[in-house]
Amino acid sequence: MNKLLTFAMAAFASLLPSLAAAQEAAGIDQRINQIFADYTGWYVSFIFAPLPGTNFSWIALWLVVGAVVFTVYFGAIQLKGFWHSIQLVKGDYSDPDDAGEVSHFQALATALSGTVGLGNIAGVAVAVSIGGPGATFWMVIAGLFGMATKFTECTLGVKYRNEFPDGHVSGGPMYYIVKGFSERGLPLGGFMAVLFSIFTILGALGGGNMFQANQAHAQLAGVLGDYPGWITGVVLAGVTFAVIAGGLKSIARVTEKIVPFMGIFYVLVSILILIINWDMIGWAFGQIFMGAFTGLGVVGGFTGALIQGFRRAAFSNEAGIGSAAIAHSAVRTKEPVTEGYVALLEPFIDTVVICTMTALVIVISGVLNQDPETGLYIWNAEAGRIATEGDVSGVALTSAAYARAFSWFPVLLMVAVVLFAFSTMISWSYYGLKAWTYLFGEGAAKELTFKVIFCLFIVIGAAASLGPVIDFSDAMLFSMAIVNIIALYFLMPIVKRELNSYVARLRSGEIVKHK
C-alpha cells in the first residue's frame, strides 16, 4: 500500500517539471503508461481474464452471478418491493418525530449523484459502439438483477455502521465485513476489510478520479478546441481541493443541487428526441433485441454484446462494488432494511432508465454505421468497434448522436459532463476517505494527506491519456466487488433475517404508514 503510494507520488513528482513545459506531456504519458503497464499489467490481465475457452471475462460473470443469487435468495425483492421502495422515498413511512434526520429521499439522491454521470453518457456509448445495440439489452438485464445486490449491501451498510461519540457516522463494506463476520464467527473479516479498503482507495484515485478528470478534459477540449490537459487538471484539482479540504461547502452544495437537475434535463432531452423520432422507437428496440442475441455484426456476436452490456452496467450503477453502502450508511433509521429498499431504486434509475435513454438516442440517430443491405453494423477492426460517424467513441459519440437532433447539445453536454465528473470525484473522494480513515484512523492530518493525494491524481488524470492507468483503476473497482460480494454471500442470512422480521411487522401493522 505504502509502496504503491510512494510510487504514485514519485510518478507525480516526475511529472511536475514537465507540467510547466506542458508540451512534453506526450513523453511523460508514455513513461507513466510504461511504468504502470510493467507493474500492474499482470493484475489487470488477471481481473479481466476470459473464462477458459471463451472471450467472456470472469469478473463480469462474477457480478451477474452475485446479482442473480441475491435476486433468488431474496425472492425477487426488486419486483416485490419496488412499490414499497417508492413509498419509502415519498416519506409515507417516515416517523414525523424523526423529521430533521437524513430522509430516504436525500440518501437516494446523494448516492445517485455519485453514480449518475459519465457511465451513463460515455460508458453507454462505449458499450454500444463495441457491443452493438444489443449491449443495451444486457445492460438493462444486469441493472435489473443488480437491484438485489444494492439491496443487500446497503442494508448491511446501515446495520453495521460506526457511530462516533460526536454523533457523526462512518459505514460501508469494511465495517460490515468486520462486524458481520465476527458476529457470525467467521475468520478473516479484518483481513478482507483491509483488502477492501485498499482497493477502494485505489479505485477512488483511478475510476473515481483520473478517469473522470480525463473524460471531462476530453469533452472540454472537444468543444472549446484542444489545449493542454494539465490546465483542466489544475483547475479541477483546485476547486476539488477547496471543496473537500478547504471547507468551501457552498460549491459542493451548489453541485449537489445542480447535478440532479442536469440529470433530469438530460433525461427530458432524451425523451424529447425519442418523441420526435417516435416512429423509429420500435425499430430501435428491434435492433436492441436482435443485437442482444445475434450481435448484428459486432465481433464476438452474442457474447460480444453481452460482455459489454454487463461490464458497463457494473461500472455505471456500481452494484456490488460497495460504494453505495458507504453513501447510504449515513441514514439514521431504526430499520436498516428500509435503506436497502431505497437503494434498490438506484440501478433502476441509473441503468434501466438513463442508460437506456442514451442507448436509444445513439441507435436512432444513426451515428453507428450500418450496412443498408444486410442490416449488420460495419466493424472497424482497427479501432475494435463499430465504425461510427466522425470515427469517435465515448462522450464524443453520445455528443454526436444528440447533436443530430439539437445542434446546441454538445455545449450543454460539456457542462453536464464536467459537472457529473466533478460530482463523481467529490463522491469518490468521500468513499476513498472513508476507506483511508478505516485503515489509518480518523483525524484531521490523516484526512488531509488523503485529500492532497486525491487532488494530485486529478491533475495526472486530466493531463495524460493513460490507457494502462485507467485499466488499472477499472481493475481496482472490480477488485472491490470481489471482496464485497464474497462478504455479501456470507452475510446475506443476516439481511434475510432483517427482511423477514421487517415484512412480518409491516403485515401485522406494527410498522405504520404515517401518510
Binding site: 430533521g100 434526520e101 436525500q106 439522491a109 446523494t110 455519485g114 461547502k249 459542493a252 449515513a330 439514521r332
Partner: protein, 145 residues
C-alpha cells in the same frame, strides 16, 4: 368541560412574542386552557445534500433542537409559566404551516396564534407561511400584527 388548548407558533421574532402574549390573555379568559408553544425549524426531506452533510446530519439536528430550546422555546415557556398559564413547549423540523396544523389537530386545539411575518416580494406573491397556514388550517387562526 374539557380542557382547551391554544397552539402558538414562535419564530423568535417580536411578532412571535406578541402572539404568545395574546394567547396567554386568551387562555386566561377561557379559563381551563393550556398553551402549546411550537417552534418549527424549516426543513424539507426533499432537498439535495452532500455526503458530508448527511454524515453530520444527526449531530446538526441535535444542535438545532438544543438551540431552539435555549434561545426561543425555554424562555417563552418560562414566561408563560410565570404568568400562571399551563404551558407545553415543542420543537419540530419541517414545514411551518404543516407542522402547526398537525400539532393543532393532534391536540384538538381551539385556535392557532401566530405572529405576522413581514414577507416581501415573491414570498408574498406565493402566500408565505401565514398565508398557507390560513389556507390549510382546520381550526381558527389568529394572526398578530
Amino acid at each position: 368541560m374539557t380542557k382547551s388548548t391554544i397552539v402558538v407558533g414562535l419564530d423568535g421574532s417580536e411578532a412571535g412574542a406578541r402572539a404568545l402574549a395574546f394567547a396567554q390573555s386568551q387562555a386566561k379568559q377561557i379559563g381551563d386552557c393550556s398553551i402549546t408553544v411550537c417552534f418549527v425549524i424549516e426543513w424539507s426531506p426533499f432537498t439535495f445534500q452532500t455526503k458530508e452533510e448527511n454524515e453530520q446530519r444527526h449531530k446538526r439536528r441535535e444542535q438545532e433542537l438544543q438551540r431552539a430550546h435555549d434561545v426561543v422555546l425555554d424562555p417563552a415557556v418560562a414566561e408563560a409559566k410565570a404568568a400562571g398559564v399551563e404551558v407545553e413547549g415543542i420543537v419540530r423540523h419541517g414545514d411551518v404551516a404543516d407542522i402547526l396544523e398537525a400539532v393543532a389537530k393532534k391536540r384538538g386545539a381551539v385556535q392557532i396564534v401566530v405572529g405576522r411575518v413581514g414577507e416581501r416580494g415573491l414570498k408574498r406573491l406565493f402566500g408565505g407561511v401565514t398565508g398557507r397556514l390560513v389556507a390549510g388550517s382546520s381550526v381558527p387562526v389568529t394572526i398578530i400584527p
